[in-house]
Each structure stands twice: as structure tokens, then as C-alpha cells.
């Protein structure tokens, strides 16, 4: 099997599996006062310190959660509500148009229920935010901005955002900045302390850790209203009995991912480039989405004009090659990706896209398997695209057909 969907989740590391299962044999609620409880607490606190060290944060800045989605929701809703409580004029939320749904849907919820005014910051054809657009948006009325949220690296097209510049802008105006770094940790150098980010989302299962465990790194001076009320286990910001095995596994996975990062990134970038050029040799009109250089090392996001992503996915799956379509799955129905749309892609380009994402188990054999199959798969999918009468570039009236130059401005031919 050729697993090329590491951006969705990556196989758990063997070391993590044995550590987690070992910890599962041990009883103890980290809030209990007896010996077992103290032992569990010790494991959690050691994990907190190790995770903090791996991400260059302070242990007291780590709030363990149930994963990336929870961390995003906590940051967006919690910080918005806290900052608005401090000053009722702060109702503006500035977020990039290419955020994960965990951020997008959270801000939309705040707009619908908590009077938030959301501004979606535009991105260029590569999916990159222009800091000048953020500056202009802030300067329109800096006092009214509750929170800025820009992801570190995009989960679909892999584009890396200029977080340092963004953090400078928010710091200048004393505005809180959240960044979803789910895809960045283990792929790019990430230092929470140096980043200038006030709140950062991380999740274990993208690093070789267990599912359903994550953290929000939250600066101590940033107040955040809790979403889950109860025992107040995590700094009174997050309640719920701590998942000791998960947390221990998370810390180990993060440590290993960060330790191995430089070598792994170099190896994956090389495999990815081989994958992209190999596909390009087979399918000359393939288009690369996302930034040509400022991108995640394991991400190849491609559009195959005239094909439907779901046809490509099924045909590859039947050949033992697993990847994602470039579309977000919303309510079980594939919708054209908001990321590609924000990048200015037309429907056919958005519909005909695939995300192939490499990770720690990927090898050259995986790359060769794709290169081997892709021509036949694309040819088939193209016929199916025509047959089912989908809106392909070829079937559009000439006036609506994107010109070559328009297409290449969206990220360029490979």
C-alpha cells in the first residue's frame, strides 16, 4: 500500500505506541492525591515540560486539549470572549481566508452568536497572506480588533505563511495573535517563544502521536475564557480528566518529530520534488497549487484539468495508492475547496485537485508507484470527467475558459 495522506494523519511511531500502551497499564487520575495519582501527575508534568522544550515554550504555557480542533476553538472563542470582556469595542476578528474549518467555523459561529465582525484576509494565487492587507485591515480601527488568526502552514496546499511579519504587526498594536501550527510542527522550525504568537494550536496525530490529543500553547498573560467547564485541570482554561497515556505519547512524538525534523524535511522535500516532476513528465498539463518554494516539505497539491478529484482518488485507491482530493469534506459532500477558491482557482481547477502528502514512512517506492499509475489514472478520470458532463475547462464556453496565463498565476506550472 502506498500511503500518501500524511497531512490527514501520519502513522503512529513505534516508540510512541509502546510508551502509550505501557502507560495504559498504569492506573491514576492526575488530579488524585494518592500515590497513583501523583505518579500520573508526574507523567503529565514531565510530558508538559518535554513538549514545551520541543516547541521552545514554557511548561506553564501548555494547555492540553483533545486535539487541534478543540485547540482552535478554544483559542478563537476563548480569547475573543476574554478580550471583548476587557473592552466591548473589540469585536473584530481578522482571519486568513485559507484557515482550517476548525478556525473558520468557530469565527463564523462567533459572528452568528456573539456579535463578532469577521474579516477574511485575502491570499494571493499561492495561498499566501499579504501582511500589508493585514496591516491595512488592522489600521482601519486597531482598537476594535479582538484577535488575529493566521495558520502557520496550510493543510491543503502547504503554503507557509509569513508568521514573523504578521506577529510584528499584531505586537505593534497589542493585538492577540493565534496561529494553527498543526501542519508546521515537525516540518518547519517552530519556536513558540521566538514567533511572537500568543496562542498556537498543535495536535499529536500529525506527528506520529495518538489521535484525540493536542495542546494550545497559550502565553500566560493572554486571558482566555474556558469552553469546557468542570474540574479546571488545565489552568482553569480547560477541564476534563487528563489523558495521561495520550499526553505522554504526544510529548514523545513531538520530541522525536522535532529532533528528526531537519533531516526528515530535507528527505521529504527531495521525494516530493521527485514526485512532482515525475507526475509532470507523465501528465504535462498538471498544475501545482500553492507556493513553489514556501511550502511544506511533504506536500504536493496538484490539479489535473478535465478530471474530477473523486474519480482520481477512487482510481488510485483501487491501485493501492491513498491520498486526498483537494476538497474539504463538508457534511459528507465534497465541496470545492475554500482554500483553492480563495487563491482564485476556478471550479475545474478546484474540482480536479489531489493532495499527495508524504511523511515519515514515505519512500521512493511510494513515489514510483504514483508515477507508474498516474498517466493511466488521469486518462481514465478525464474520460469520466467528460462523460459525466462536469464543468471541465474544455466544456466551458471560450469566454469563461481560463487562459494559460491565468492558470499559471495561481501557482504556476510545475
Amino acid at each position: 500500500m502506498t500511503y500518501l495522506d500524511h497531512a490527514a494523519t501520519t502513522p503512529m511511531l513505534e516508540e510512541v505506541i509502546s510508551t502509550v500502551s505501557q502507560q495504559m497499564h498504569t492506573v491514576g487520575n492526575a488530579s488524585s492525591l494518592h500515590t497513583s495519582g501523583r505518579a500520573a501527575r508526574r507523567m503529565v508534568e514531565e510530558a508538559r515540560e518535554r513538549l514545551a522544550a520541543a516547541l521552545d515554550a514554557r511548561p506553564s504555557e501548555v494547555v492540553f486539549t483533545g486535539g487541534g480542533t478543540e485547540s482552535d476553538n478554544l483559542a478563537i472563542k476563548g480569547i475573543y470572549l476574554a478580550r471583548r470582556a476587557e473592552n466591548p469595542a473589540r469585536t473584530r476578528l481578522l482571519v486568513s481566508a485559507v484557515e482550517h474549518h476548525a478556525v473558520l467555523d468557530a469565527v463564523q459561529w462567533l459572528a452568528a452568536h456573539e456579535g463578532a465582525e469577521v474579516e477574511f484576509l485575502p491570499v494571493d494565487g499561492y495561498g499566501m497572506l499579504d501582511p500589508a492587507a493585514l496591516a491595512a485591515s488592522i489600521e482601519r480601527d486597531p482598537e476594535s480588533v479582538a484577535l488575529v488568526s493566521v495558520m502557520w502552514a496550510n493543510n491543503e496546499v502547504g503554503t507557509v505563511q509569513p508568521i514573523a511579519e504578521i506577529a510584528e504587526l499584531t505586537a505593534e498594536h497589542g493585538i492577540a495573535l493565534h496561529s494553527d501550527a498543526v501542519q508546521a510542527v515537525g516540518a518547519l522550525p517552530v519556536s513558540f517563544a521566538a514567533s511572537g504568537v500568543d496562542a498556537m494550536t498543535v495536535t499529536a496525530h500529525k506527528l506520529g502521536g495518538p489521535y484525540g490529543t493536542g495542546a494550545l500553547l497559550l502565553k500566560r498573560e493572554v486571558s482566555c475564557v474556558p469552553l469546557l467547564h468542570g474540574g479546571g485541570q488545565e489552568r482553569d482554561v480547560r477541564s476534563g480528566t487528563l489523558d495521561t497515556p495520550g499526553i505522554v505519547g504526544f510529548a514523545l512524538a513531538a520530541e522525536l518529530a522535532v529532533q528528526r525534523r531537519a533531516a526528515s524535511a530535507a528527505r521529504l522535500a527531495e521525494l516530493r520534488d521527485q514526485l512532482i516532476s515525475g507526475i509532470r513528465a507523465q501528465v504535462p498539463d498538471v498544475l501545482l497549487n500553492g507556493h513553489p518554494t514556501e511550502r511544506l516539505p511533504g506536500n504536493a497539491h496538484l490539479s489535473f484539468p478535465g478530471c474530477e478529484g473523486d474519480s482520481l482518488l477512487m482510481l488510485l485507491d483501487a491501485r493501492g495508492i491513498e491520498c486526498s482530493t483537494g476538497s474539504a469534506c463538508s457534511a459528507g459532500v465534497a465541496q470545492a475547496s475554500h482554500v483553492l477558491i480563495a487563491m482564485g482557482a476556478d471550479e475545474p481547477r478546484a474540482r480536479g485537485s489531489l493532495r499527495l502528502s508524504l511523511g515519515h514512512t514515505s519512500s521512493e517506492a511510494d513515489v514510483l508507484a504514483v508515477i507508474d499509475s498516474i498517466a493511466a489514472v488521469v486518462e481514465r478520470a478525464r474520460r469520466a470527467g467528460m462523460a459525466s458532463g462536469a464543468l471541465t475547462a474544455a466544456s466551458l464556453p471560450a469566454a469563461a475558459r481560463p487562459s494559460g496565463s491565468q492558470l499559471s498565476s495561481l501557482g504556476g506550472r510545475i
Binding site: D310, S311, L315, A334, R383, M386, A387, G389
Partner: protein
């Protein structure tokens, strides 16, 4: 053989897929997403378009151990079925969206895509038989769906598989239970899947707005008012809200809808009877018939069967002279021709009238 099983999330398509697996074929399950904004949960007996239905389809595929995908046909469904449905009502016709969906989506868009992707056929859970390429009624007369399949051409049928035609619905349910399919006792769907609340009139009004007009009798005398002629169907009795009672108090029915004058014509049950039905667009499910012939015709999805003499006009028109007059023959519905249980073909009803008064 590689087949694609269209799985709605209902019991029929799940058992049909299971039988395809038993036949030793290479089966892939596909659920068609027909709405861009699907409801989360299914309500009552409506539809196959909720997220819960796609979940049910997925769970059936899991039990059968076959690959499963959701394919988005929402755009095509909107253009070919929903828009057509509204447009047909707007001109005073009574469309059958299930038939249209088979004609334009399941055995056109889906089948074409399946064939292009390397599948040999599409398997569905329709209650009908295909024997040597001949479309036949199901053994379960009450559940027979040959009517809504009679718009398919021989070419389309050559790539269709209906594994349920020899079973009654009860047998299908029992088999589903015995196979451990959770949908075994899921209620049947029998309303229009894209009208979630079952209120067709309300749906049409939302699409077309209010268009008030008169309800008249055959002489043109005004008997009441309506808020949109498109909301009526020939043969309809309820919901007329007439202000002038009929002489003798006998019930009155919709006889016709006149979109040009925006009037609804009503009359007695007897006025409703027709014995000459004119149709367009004949489709032959096996070989095309060219000479006049006698057969059975069915004029609605359920019931309304009569003997008929069929005349084929040079301009592609098809005229059926019914041996037994029928009430409530509505333009837009299909006339399906049968030789016993065997489907010969279908045509779209354009008008109907009473010519012979002896019956």
C-alpha cells in the same frame, strides 16, 4: 465483471449490492450526494439525501466489505431534476422526478461516469426484472418500479443490473436482517426526496412565487380563486377551497391547468374520464416498434392500467386509445406500455381527452 452499486442508504440498494457481491462481481458502492446542503438527519419517510442516509449506505458497504465513495451529483441533479420539476409544474404539467432522475442521473450521468471509469454496469435496488435485456415488472406488484425505469433505452438497460426483481419487499427486508444490514427495518421512502417537508405546493410557491388566478368550470364560470395554478394536478380533489358548491353537492376535481390564462378548470368525476391520450418522445426499452399495436398502458407510477390501441404518428407522436376510460391523466406523466409484464417503452403524456362516450 466490475459493477458500481448505487447505494441510497435504503434497504433495497443495500441488498442489491449484497447480491452483486454474492454473484462474484467486483463491486464498488457509491452514494450520490444530490443536495449541496443535506439535512443532518432523515425525517420520516422522505428522501435519500440526508447525511444520515449516506452514513447508512456507508455502513452497509462496510458490512459487505466493498469500497465506498460519495459522488457529488448535486449540480446535475439540480439542473436536470429539480429545475425541470419546477419548470414542468410552471407550464401546468405533473412531472415524475424519480423517473427523470433515472433517465438523467442514475442511468446517464452516473452510468456514463461509471463506464468511463472502467465499470461494466450500474447495480440499483429498483424493484424490476431484466431478463435477456427485457425490462419486466417485479414479482412484488405493490413495489414494482418498472414504470419509473421505462424511460431507459435498450442501450442504457444493457448496462443496468436489477438484482431484486424476483423478490418481494418483505423478502428483501428479511434478507437484509439475515445479512446483518442495519437498514433492514428502515422505513421506505416514498415522497419526493428534495422536498424535505413533503409540502410540494409550498415548495413550488417558494420557487415560483404567488400567482393568483381563478378556478373555473368548463363553461368558464368562476368558482373560486387560487394562489398559483402550478400547485394543482389533474385529478386533484382536495385543497380547491371552492366558494360556489356544485349543483347536487357532488365532489369536483381538477380537470386541467391552463397556464396561459392562469386558470384551473374543475368538473365532476365523470368529466375527468379520458380515453384518448396523446404523447410525445417515445422511448423503446428493447427494439423500437414501428407499426400500430395493442398493449397494456400504465398512466401513473401506481395503478391506472388499461388496455390500449397504440398509433404511431409520423411526427414522433404516439396516441393511445384506452379500452377503459381513466380518471386523472396528467400531462407530464409517463405512459408506459406493457406486453403482459414486459415493458415495451414509454412516452410523455401531452394531452388527454374523451372521445368515445359509450363507456
Amino acid at each position: 465483471m466490475r459493477v458500481l452499486a448505487a447505494m441510497s442508504g435504503g434497504v433495497d440498494s443495500a441488498v442489491a449490492a449484497a447480491r452483486a457481491v454474492d454473484a462474484g462481481w467486483d463491486v464498488t458502492g457509491v452514494h450520490l450526494a444530490l443536495s449541496r446542503q443535506p439535512a443532518t438527519l432523515r425525517t420520516g419517510s422522505r428522501g435519500c439525501c440526508s447525511v444520515e442516509d449516506s452514513h447508512d449506505a456507508r455502513r452497509s458497504a462496510d458490512v459487505l466489505g466493498i469500497p465506498f465513495y460519495i459522488w457529488d451529483f448535486a449540480e446535475r441533479f439540480q439542473a436536470e431534476v429539480i429545475d425541470d420539476f419546477v419548470a414542468e409544474y410552471e407550464v401546468g404539467h405533473t412531472p415524475n422526478p424519480c423517473l427523470r432522475c433515472n433517465e438523467k442521473i442514475k442511468f446517464a450521468a452516473l452510468l456514463d461516469k461509471a463506464l468511463a471509469l472502467g465499470f461494466d454496469a450500474v447495480v440499483t435496488g429498483h424493484h424490476a426484472k431484466l431478463i435477456d435485456g427485457q425490462l419486466m415488472r417485479s414479482v412484488d406488484a405493490g413495489k414494482d418500479q418498472s414504470y419509473v425505469l421505462a424511460v431507459l433505452t435498450a442501450e442504457q438497460l444493457s448496462h443496468a443490473v436489477f438484482p431484486l426483481g424476483d423478490s418481494t419487499k418483505d423478502q428483501v427486508r428479511a434478507e437484509a436482517a439475515q445479512r446483518g444490514l442495519a437498514v433492514a427495518d428502515k422505513p421506505d421512502s416514498h415522497d419526493i426526496c428534495f422536498i424535505a417537508d413533503g409540502n410540494t405546493q409550498g415548495f413550488l410557491q417558494k420557487q415560483l412565487g404567488e400567482r393568483p388566478g381563478d378556478i373555473v368550470d368548463s363553461s368558464g364560470a368562476v368558482l373560486g380563486a387560487h394562489s398559483g395554478a402550478f400547485g394543482f394536478t389533474v385529478g386533484q380533489r382536495k385543497g380547491l377551497n371552492l366558494t360556489t358548491p356544485a349543483p347536487g353537492g357532488e365532489p369536483r376535481y381538477v380537470l386541467s391547468i391552463q397556464p396561459k390564462s392562469n386558470t384551473v378548470v374543475v368538473g365532476s368525476a365523470r368529466d375527468l374520464e379520458v380515453d384518448l391520450v396523446c404523447c410525445a418522445r417515445p422511448v423503446w426499452t428493447s427494439s423500437a416498434l414501428t407499426a400500430d399495436f395493442e398493449c397494456l398502458v400504465q398512466l401513473r407510477a401506481h395503478g391506472m392500467v388499461s388496455g390500449a390501441a397504440i398509433t404511431l404518428a409520423a411526427d414522433g407522436q404516439l396516441v393511445a386509445r384506452l379500452t377503459e376510460p381513466q380518471r386523472g391523466v396528467a400531462p407530464g406523466q409517463a405512459l408506459v406500455m406493457y406486453d403482459g409484464d414486459r415493458v415495451l417503452g414509454s412516452a410523455t403524456i401531452t394531452s388527454a381527452e374523451r372521445v368515445c362516450m359509450t363507456a
